[in-house]
Symmetry: C2
Subunit: 429 residues, 2 copies
C-alpha cells in the first residue's frame, strides 16, 4: 500500500498538490468543516472523491470539486492518548478481543500505509471511539487470515486460547473474523467449548472500514453491548440484521448461515428469529432456552478432518462417494434433497460405507426445515442402509460437529449418539 493507495487522476492530483497522504489527519472545509483521516480507496475507484474517516468511526466520500480547502491537522495522537485513559477505567467491564483477520481487521491500516491486517487496541479505540466509553478492551492478535483460509487447525488455536480465559475477569470475548466461514468457526467453538461460562461473539464486517458504508464499527459496538448486557453464555455471531443501522442481530453460533454474498444483513438464523436483537441500542431477547445443554465447562478441543460433506444432485456419480470411502473417511454428511433423499443409484456404495462402519448423517440442501426420512419409501430405504437423519441441523454445522465428534471418539455408537445429542443449540425446535 502506497501513500496514495487507490487514488488516481483528479483525486490523486488534488492530494499531491495539497501535500496530503493516506493516513493524514486533516481538516476539510466544504459545505461544513470535516475533521478526520484520509482513507485509502479501492483500485478501481473514481477520481472525483476523497474518503475521510470521521471521529465517529464512519467514513464519508467528499467530492473534491466541492472542497474549498484541505489542511493537515495532527490531533490523532491526542485522541489516542485519551482513549488509552478510557481503556483503563476500573468502573467499566473488561472485554477480550481476539483478532483472526478478515475484512473487519484488514483495512484499518490507514495510518501507516503498510499492510497490517490486524486490530490492535490502539487502532480499535481510535477507529471506534465509542468502544472505550463502554468497556476496557484488551486485544490479542491470534493470526491474520481471510476466512476462506481458516482451517480446522485455526479453530483449534482459537479454542485453546479461549479455554485459558474461563476463569478470567472478562465479561465476554470477541473474535474478529472474516465472514465467509464464520459460522463454521462459531459452531466448532460451540461444541469444543461446551459450557464456557462467559459469552463469546464472532464479529465481522461485510464492507471494509475504508468504505463509507462499512458495518465494522456498529457490529463491534453491538458485540460489546451484547457481551455486557445479555446476561447469558454461548457462542454467537453478531452482525447487522439488515441494510439499516438500527438493528444488530445476535445469532446462535450453530443455527446461523451466511445467506448473501455482500449485503450487510447477510447472516440469518435458520428457521427462527435471531437469539437477541439490539434495536436502537436496546437489547431484546428472543432465545427461549439455555445455549448449552450442560452446566459446567467441559472443553473437548479435538478434531478429525476426515469428514466429507456430500451434496447429492441428479448426475452425482456414486464413484465420487466410493473414492471418499476408500480414502479413510470416518464420517459422511449428506446434503440430500428435500426431506433427506439421495438417488437409488447411491444405495450400493452407501451400503458398503455402512458395512465398514462409516457414520453417515443426513441433512437437507433445502437448508430450512427438518429431514424426515419416514415419509417416503426412499427415505425408509436409506434408514435401513444406516443413514442417520440429523433433524434440522444445518449441513455445514453437521459437518463441523461430525469433525469434532469423530475427533473425540472412533466408536460408531458413540459417534451416532453424540451426533443426535444436542450440545450447543444445534437443533432448533
Amino acid at each position: 500500500m502506497s501513500e496514495y493507495t487507490g487514488y488516481n487522476g483528479n483525486s490523486l492530483e488534488f492530494l499531491k498538490i495539497n501535500k496530503i497522504q493516506v493516513g493524514d489527519s486533516v481538516k476539510i472545509f466544504a459545505d461544513i468543516t470535516y475533521l478526520g483521516i484520509i482513507m485509502p480507496r479501492y483500485e478501481h475507484s473514481d477520481d472525483k472523491h476523497v474518503v475521510l474517516k470521521l471521529k465517529s468511526g464512519y467514513n464519508i466520500g467528499l467530492e473534491i470539486e466541492k472542497i474549498e480547502k484541505i489542511e493537515k491537522n495532527p490531533p490523532i495522537e491526542k485522541s489516542l492518548e485519551k482513549n488509552q485513559e478510557i481503556r483503563n477505567n476500573e468502573d467499566l467491564p473488561n472485554i477480550l478481543l481476539l483478532s483472526t483477520g478478515g475484512t473487519i481487521a484488514s483495512k484499518i491500516d490507514y495510518r501507516t500505509g503498510a499492510v497490517t491486517p490486524v486490530l490492535t487496541a490502539e487502532e480499535l479505540n481510535s477507529s471506534v471511539p465509542e468502544l472505550g466509553e463502554i468497556a476496557n478492551i484488551d486485544t490479542k492478535v491470534l493470526f491474520s487470515e481471510y476466512s476462506e483460509n481458516i482451517m480446522p487447525q485455526h479453530w483449534l488455536k482459537i479454542a485453546q486460547t479461549i479455554k485459558e480465559y474461563s476463569k478470567s475477569d472478562y465479561s465476554g470475548i470477541i473474535i474478529a473474523h472474516g465472514t465467509d466461514t464464520m459460522h463454521y468457526t462459531s459452531s466448532f467453538l460451540s461444541f469444543s467449548l461446551a459450557g464456557f461460562p462467559i459469552p463469546i461473539v464472532l464479529v465481522g464486517s461485510q464492507r471494509s472500514s475504508d468504505r463509507a458504508s462499512s458495518d465494522a464499527a456498529l457490529n463491534l459496538i453491538g458485540a460489546v453491548k451484547f457481551l455486557i448486557e445479555s446476561k447469558t453464555n454461548g457462542i454467537y455471531i453478531v452482525m447487522h440484521q439488515d441494510e439499516n443501522d438500527e438493528t444488530i442481530a445476535c445469532h446462535i453460533g450453530t443455527r446461523v448461515r451466511k445467506n448473501h454474498t455482500s449485503k450487510r444483513g447477510a447472516f440469518q438464523t435458520i428457521g427462527s428469529d435471531p437469539a437477541f436483537l439490539i434495536v436502537n441500542n436496546k437489547i431484546h431477547k428472543n432465545m427461549k432456552k439455555d445455549f448449552f445443554k450442560i452446566q459446567g465447562f467441559e472443553p473437548k478441543i479435538k478434531i478429525n478432518e476426515k469428514v466429507a460433506l456430500v451434496k447429492y444432485h441428479p448426475g452425482y456419480d456414486p464413484d465420487l462417494l466410493k473414492n471418499i470411502i476408500d480414502s479413510g473417511y470416518k464420517a459422511i454428511i449428506f446434503e440430500g434433497t428435500g426431506l433427506g433423499h439421495i438417488g437409488e443409484n447411491m444405495y450400493p456404495v452407501v451400503k458398503r460405507a455402512n458395512e465398514i462402519g462409516i457414520f453417515m448423517g443426513m441433512t437437507s440442501q433445502c437448508i430450512d426445515g427438518r429431514v424426515r426420512m419416514t415419509v417416503y419409501e426412499s427415505g425408509r430405504d436409506l434408514l435401513n442402509l444406516g443413514i442417520v437423519p440429523l433433524e434440522n441441523m444445518i449441513p455445514e454445522i453437521a459437518l463441523v460437529k461430525a469433525m469434532w465428534v469423530t475427533g473425540n471418539t472412533e466408536k460408531y455408537d458413540e459417534i451416532k449418539e453424540s451426533m443426535l445429542n444436542e450440545i450447543a443449540s444445534e437443533f432448533s425446535t
Copy 2:
C-alpha cells in the same frame, strides 16, 4: 396398497363394520353431510379419523366418533363422464400434462388400491374437477419416479418429448414432477429447449393428495391458469407462495430453489420476486424481461454428466478435487464461500485443472447475491488460476448449465462463452 391402507384400530374397525373401503365414494352424515371418496392414510396415522376427498379436490379428516352414519354412494362414474365431456369442449384451450412421478402423482391411486403412481386424465379430472372447467387436458405418463431418482437421462426424455409439441395447438405444457429436484429439471429444460414457443410449467406438491393439507389441487389449477393467461413463454415452477391458499407463485425455472423441506411455500425465487403471482385467482406479472434471450426455437438436447459440484469448506481436502480431475471431468462448479472464494490450499490442484483445460466456474454457497472475485486478493488469485466467476447463478443451476454446455461442445473457449452468455434468465439483474 390394500383396501384399508393406513387404517388401523378404531378407524379400521369403523370402515369394516360399515363395509367401506379405500376408494369408495361415500356420503357421511356428521355435523353436516359430506360427499367424497375415502382416501388411504399413512402407516403411522392415528386411528380416530377417516380421510375424505371432497369434490372440490380438498381432503378433510373426519373424527369417526362424530360420524352419525356413513353410506356408499356411487356418483363418481357420473362425475367422471361429466368431466370427460368438459374435456372435449372446443371453446376451451388445450393443455398437455406430462407425468413424471413425485408426490403430486403418487397418492392419487385411491380408487384401485393398487400402486399406480401416475396421473391419468380421468384421475386428474375427477380429483381436481375445476381443471375440466378451464381447459381440455391431455395427459401422458412419461415415467414414474420420485424426483431424487430423476437422472439427467430423464431430463433428456422429458425434453425430447416436449420438443415434438413445438407446433401443436396446446396453450402450454404441465410437467407433474417431484419437488426434490424440480429446479434441476426446470433448468435443464430452460437451456435445452431455448426459445420454445409456449409456456412450460413444472408443478408438484409438498403434501400428498391423501392429506387434508394437500397443495396438489391448487398448484395444478394455478399452473393451468398461468399457462392460459400469462401470455408468455419460458419454463416455470408453479407452487404455493406460502402456507396460505390465496397465492400461487410462478418462479423462473433457472432462478428458483427448494428452500424448505416441508412447507407448502418451499420454493423461492432467489434474489427477486417470483415472475408471476396468482393472487385470489388473478394473475400479476412481475417479470420485466423475456424469459429467453433468443427468439426462435433452437433445441439442443444433449448432456454430459462429467461435471462436478464442489462445495468448499474449511477442512475440504484438495485430494478430493484431485480425484475429480483425474476421473475425466470436463467442468467443475465451485460452491465457494462469500463472494467466491476457496482456500489457498486448493490452489495447486486448481492450477493443474486449469492447465489440462477443465472449465472451472465459481458460484457462492451463500446462494443469494453475486460472486465478485476482484474485491480481495484471494479472489484475484483464483481469477488468475482460471476460475470463471458466474455472477449470481445459483450453484445447482450452474451445475446443470455446465452439464448441458459441455454436452454440446468440448472446446474450452466455447464452454466459457456459453457459461457466461445468458440463455434462459439464469442471471438476474
